[in-house]
Amino acid sequence: MTPVTAEELRETIARQFGRSLHIRTLDTGSCAVCEQEIRLLTAPHYDLHRLGFFFTPAPRHADLLLVTGPMIRAFEVAARKTYDAMPGPKVVVATGACALGGVYPADPFTHGTVDAVLPVDVWIPGCPPSPLALLHGLGVAVGKLAEKVRDLPFTAPDDSERTRGDS
């Protein structure tokens, strides 16, 4: 497929797959928790289908690749094969701290991050990203939800009293 910018890609996705986007997951060495959260997306509590997302086992039918794990080097072949097997336009979503380089450094075992091998379009932080975070990420991927994190400072006013999280 012709190379397009992530922005154009997202527009295409929103236009073409607005109501029916098929997702293929890819585990490149996760600790099995991200997989559990992804499975729960189809559970009654989150019910991915109501938003027009569907899981498909065949990359041939997939529009979005949901990648977890730090991209084990031994798995690189399989990852590339899976990506190549997908028809364009396609979106790659790196899911979880491992995939974003938060757990494993780049070393002989792992690439450390997914974008070392695949062209990532959307990053979803979290260890693991909860199903809600995943829903938000998918929404961002198809351009239906705003990416809030761009304007988040991750600073707190000094004089605020202690909030949850301090133990």
């Binding site: 060495g29 099995a32 559990q36 559970a43 009654p44 794990g69 399989a78 075992f109 260890c127």
Partner: protein, 499 residues
């Protein structure tokens, strides 16, 4: 734990309840000792040592008989890169023999071919000891399929939302002739990474070794470090850990239930089980601030206190939901029929392969690390066992364990739980730690240097143990459409196997 010399032949039992007894065994005596310890369960086997020449082989034996449960470690220093072929006597040792060969280049004397376990054949990865030289051809597991069968390639990229794992399923078109599996797609070299880290840092990775039993593996590693340094965590912290561990067991068994429904194509049951699962996960989040209980275990104690009110208010409903779903499932014939007489593992198989957890208990063994006397469990755990050894037996064992977990959580909360850490001194030492993960006994062994940093850490989650029973269970099957059901009933992770 004073190393003593073991007379051969000794008289059983030599396990001190709740203790770890260490023996030095000379390499020539090793075979005789292994024969003699056959009454115990070979729980783990690993090598340690800087660079091959001074490699020490450690065998961890577990005594599962209630009341006198404890561990024995035999230490044998290996000369000239060979040791007696223990898998001939104790088949449970085979996978570890292969691992040790891959990592340290020392091999059993029998010279028989070894399987490829950890290191992918098409990558050159760093190892703990020095590499086997030359790169062994036979270690590439010659899976040659002949005659009128063919290899059904399954994976590594499998169905949606499951881990990467490769089955070579040898089938004649209908029945399962043979099955072998590779997990090296997920080998992250964790034991290699842990070297040079402090226990506290190591915990971060240990929890992510097998995220679905983060508490158990974390606890095992923490306990190993505590044993190495002679630290005693506060009782309340111990109970906090136990609460987390039982919550982990609960949600895992709910997840296994959902997976079983999915494998049997019972969509309604799957939804019901997933509702239960989600409620338990939300409970985890409310109680410990993390859906999968990461960060609860700390070296020397527990870093978070459970929100007791949340448990008392929510757990009964969540478990009630669980119970009702389970009962409804057991009342659904189309479900139960698929489970009955599926994936049978006999007690003999389970024992000889040294399996643990619900898989072993469903076959009639009593292996359960919570029986080991000492805090926090004491001796108050009733171990649920089955006899049939099929998927239904495993499912029933899981249900019984869930009930037991709820009871235990209640007790621990009554006895009092809190966050709290006893400082782990930065001293040298070695220690063994264990915890009963939802999949079975998780073991960890660490050797610390004077700076309190890890020189060798051995992580052995239950998955690393139980996968070896999987192909036997599948081979007992005559149609390969049952394999997903068997896999769901084992409820293992590739991450834990590959590490």
């Amino acid at each position: 734990m004073t190393p003593t010399h073991l007379p051969v032949p000794p008289s059983l039992p030599r396990t001190v309840p709740g203790e770890v007894t260490t023996f030095q065994v000379a390499s020539p005596d090793l075979e005789a000792v292994v024969r003699d310890l056959g009454g115990l369960r070979l729980a783990d086997m690993f090598a340690a040592g800087s660079d091959g020449d001074a490699t020490t082989l450690r065998l961890v034996w577990a005594n599962d008989t209630a009341g006198q449960a404890g561990y024995v470690i035999t230490e044998t220093s290996i000369e000239n890169g060979e040791y007696p072929a223990l898998s001939e006597i104790a088949p449970a040792a085979f996978v570890e023999e292969c691992e040790i060969y891959e990592q340290f280049g020392i091999r059993p004397a029998s010279g028989k071919p070894l399987n490829r376990i950890m290191l992918p054949p098409h990558a050159d990865l760093p190892t703990l000891g020095h590499k086997p030289q030359p790169e062994p051809e036979e270690a590439r597991a010659p899976h040659i399929v002949g005659g009128q069968a063919f290899e059904f390639p399954f994976g590594p990229v499998r169905q949606v939302g499951v881990e990467s794992l490769y089955y070579g399923l040898v089938t004649s078109g209908e029945e399962v002739v043979d099955l072998y599996l590779f997990t090296w797609h997920k080998h992250r070299g964790l034991e290699w990474r842990l070297r040079g880290k402090t226990p506290e840092q190591a915990l971060f990775l240990a929890e992510r070794t097998e995220g679905l039993s983060a508490v158990a593996v974390g606890w095992a590693l923490a306990a190993a470090a505590e044993a190495a340094t002679g630290t005693r965590p506060p009782e309340t912290a111990q109970r906090t850990r136990a609460v987390a561990l039982e919550l982990e067991r609960l949600y895992n068994h709910a997840a296994a239930m959902a997976a079983l429904c999915q494998a049997t194509g019972l969509a309604v049951g799957q939804s019901a089980a997933e509702i239960t699962l989600e409620r338990l996960l939300r409970l985890n989040a409310r109680v410990f601030g993390h859906r999968y209980l990461f960060g609860v275990i700390a070296a020397g104690g527990a870093s978070r206190a459970p929100d007791a009110d949340a448990i008392t208010s929510e757990l009964p409903n969540a478990y009630g939901e669980f119970k009702r779903t389970a009962d409804a499932l057991l009342g659904t014939n189309s479900f139960v029929d698929r489970l009955e007489a599926t994936g049978i593992l006999t007690e003999a198989q389970a024992r000889s392969l040294g399996l643990v957890g619900p898989v072993a208990r469903a076959a009639g063994l009593t292996a359960d690390a919570r029986q080991v006397p000492g805090a926090p469990y004491g001796t108050g755990v009733t171990v649920a066992t089955g006899a049939a050894g099929d998927v239904l037996a495993r499912f029933s064992v899981m249900l019984a364990e869930a009930a037991e977990s709820v009871r235990l959580i209640g007790e621990f909360l009554r006895e009092g739980t809190a966050a709290g850490v006893t400082e782990v001194p930065r001293t040298a030492g070695t220690g063994l730690g264990w915890a009963e993960s939802p999949r079975g006994e998780a073991l960890a062994w660490v050797a610390l240097d004077d700076d309190g940093r890890i020189t060798r850490a051995r992580l052995r989650p239950a998955s690393a143990r139980n996968w070896r029973g999987f192909d036997d269970a599948c081979r007992s099957q005559n149609v390969f459409t049952d394999i997903p059901i068997i896999e769901a009933s084992f409820w293992l992770t590739a991450a834990g196997m590959a590490r």
